[in-house]
């Protein structure tokens, strides 16, 4: 197995992990992290599969650079919106996903209701 293919396989696992996390984890920070994990998985596959025969391929490398910037932009927007939601509702969880949130309250950073309401 070439190192490229190995990266790609790991990328596949990360992608599946990220998808699961994005769907299942209620806390917004977890979701945003999960998105980054699944994106990284896709990048690994893009670069890894492209050079599984051992020769470096600049095309997917450039694509991944583009992809990373896009992912950074998306992450920044997601974080900003999550913070805005925290300001407005005092909560880092999307409405409707509360039930699971309480079940996992132990590993959450900010307990719901702790945030500054209305940016006081």
């Amino acid at each position: 197995m070439s190192i490229g293919l190995f990266y790609a396989l790991v990328g596949g696992l990360l992608f599946a992990l990220g998808v699961g996390g994005l769907i299942l984890r209620p806390h917004l920070l977890s979701k945003i992290l999960a998105f980054n994990i699944l994106g990284s998985g896709a990048f690994l596959v893009l670069v890894g599969l492209g050079q599984r025969d051992g020769t470096p391929d600049p095309v997917p490398q450039a694509m991944v650079l583009t992809g990373i910037v896009v992912a950074v932009a998306a992450t920044a927007l997601a974080l900003a919106l999550a913070r805005r939601l925290l300001d407005l509702s005092g909560d880092m969880v999307l409405p409707g996903e509360k039930a699971a949130d309480e079940a996992e309250a132990g590993d959450q950073e900010a307990a719901p209701g702790d945030g500054p309401r209305g940016g006081a």
Binding site: F43, L81, L88, S89
Partner: protein, 485 residues
């Protein structure tokens, strides 16, 4: 070489990017006039491009002078140009509408112009791109612009809706990107033209197709992946709702059409198409039912979008693995439905926005007296409803006619039942609104006026939906001239 200087395809991308950037530099709340000039020019460009496709057929541009597979190509064909025309002709009246709307209600409009400029640029770029990875970038551009616009309403519900929308759209494009990665790994290229002769039923390719399809279904909000749409479209400010419902969801649908009936045609199966069709049927029935149950006007219209999206996806079972005639009919019907829904839903959200401006509230029960005070807007809503119900003469009817024809031609009668039921259900929710608006206003009428420009631009869009039904042969001829399927 000088001829390229006025190349409409390139300018359709450059121009909205340019005015969006300028509008950003001008600052919050500015840039409306600039944007309207840009939108007007865009309509002319799209018409010019359509003329070229009609006379010369489909053609491609190698960007930077680097032909695929090394570089990225723009492909101008019938389908692309029809979608570009749709975008231009819906965006222009919506632009006028938005200017009047934010004139009356400035909240949420601070960065509307640059955001919508990027949104329109993303749409145009997406419709023209012939490169899987570039399509990913346009999808992200579109998604972020749409989310930014949704969040601009600024209240708690809107921000939550925007986040949900963002996460859904990121998951969708993530799945798509993974598919692209698999395709590049398998074939060493992401150019659609280069891939077309290569595609074969490798496991990786099938997986890639599955991931891309699921990603696009999520972005188009096909039942049961529609959860993000109603709060986002219903919670945004009205001009934004109109843009999102009319145009944005069409982009991912378009991409799916492109992939399914384009490069991936050799590996697309009837079974998968039927499955998509079943989801479409679910969308039609479930979306209509929920629309009927809504108490807020814009949520009703948003759920109507969920239902109407279902009709779009009937193309897949009706055009996969059937006779050529049925296939063409279904294909035309699907595109007609996309166009008709774009016009009608833009009109309906615009009309809803005018009603909300006038009544000051979003509840359906608050609409009493609107019929007497805003007859023009109610008329607009009804006309848009005619298209959504699929009654003649309207683009919606033409779409239904073509889809029914395809269903009968290919012996798939079960879709007929779904379409008929859906039509009746949509009548039920449209008339729920009309009926309420017909009632006299309760004592101490609170119905004010809406700016005339709001009413007229909404009416223009609704009339567009009707005219599409009377002159549907023209876009279909354009589709044909540009290479058909």
């Amino acid at each position: 070489m000088m001829t390229m200087v006025f190349d409409p395809a390139s300018w359709l991308i450059l121009l909205p990017l340019a005015w969006a950037t300028l509008a950003f530099v001008l600052g919050a709340g500015r840039g409306a006039r600039l944007a309207l000039v840009g939108l007007g020019a865009q309509a002319l460009l799209a018409l010019e491009l359509a003329r070229r496709v009609r006379d010369q057929g489909a053609h491609a541009h190698a960007l930077g002078g680097w032909p695929a597979p090394l570089g990225i190509e723009l492909a101008v064909d019938g389908l692309a140009v029809v979608m570009l025309l749709m975008t231009a002709l819906v965006a222009l009246p919506l632009g006028l509408y938005a200017r009047a709307y934010f004139g009356a209600k400035p909240k949420g409009g601070a960065w509307f112009w640059p955001l919508s400029g990027f949104l329109i640029a993303a749409l145009n770029a997406l419709f023209l791109s012939a490169d899987l990875f570039n399509l990913y970038v346009t999808l992200e551009l579109l998604g972020l612009a749409a989310v930014g616009l949704t969040a601009a309403a600024g209240d708690r519900m809107a921000v939550a809706a925007a986040l949900r929308y963002l996460l859904a759209t990121l998951l969708g494009s993530g799945a798509y990107l993974f598919g692209v990665a698999l395709i590049y790994g398998t074939y060493g290229t992401v150019s659609l033209a280069a891939l077309a002769p290569l595609i074969s039923a490798e496991p990786a390719v099938l997986l890639a197709l599955a991931l891309m399809v699921i990603g696009m279904l999520l972005k188009t909000a096909l039942f049961p992946l529609h959860f993000w749409l109603p709060p986002a479209h219903g919670g945004a400010v009205s001009p934004v709702s109109a843009l999102l419902s009319a145009l944005v969801i069409k982009a991912s649908f378009y991409l799916l059409l492109r992939l399914w009936f384009g490069v991936f045609e050799p590996v697309a199966t009837v079974g998968a198409a039927q499955l998509i069709g079943i989801l479409g049927a679910g969308a039609i029935l479930w979306g209509s039912l929920l629309a009927l149950l809504q108490t807020r006007l814009k949520m009703l219209v948003a759920y109507s979008t969920v239902a109407q999206v279902g009709y779009l996806f009937l193309v897949f079972p009706l055009a996969t693995g059937v006779s050529p005639e049925a296939g063409v009919s279904a294909w035309q019907g699907g595109i007609m439905q996309a166009l008709a829904h774009a016009l009608a839903k833009a009109a309906m959200f615009a009309a809803a926005g005018a009603m909300i401006v006038a009544t000051g509230r979003d509840e359906i029960v608050g609409l009493s007296g609107v019929g007497a005070r805003l007859p023009l807007t109610l008329f607009t809503f009804a006309l848009a409803g005619v298209t959504l119900m699929g009654l003649p003469p309207s683009g919606g009817f033409s779409a239904k006619w073509l889809l029914l024809m395809a269903a009968l031609d290919s012996g798939q009668w079960w879709w007929i039942v779904v379409m008929m039921l859906g039509g009746l259900l949509s009548a039920a929710y449209v008339f729920k609104v009309l009926r309420q608006a017909f009632l006299p206003a309760p004592g101490g009428s609170a119905v004010g006026r809406a700016p005339r420009a709001l009413e007229l631009t909404a009416l223009a869009l609704a009339l567009g939906g009707i005219l599409l039904g009377l002159f549907g042969a023209q876009p279909l001829a354009l589709l044909e001239a540009g290479g058909g399927r």
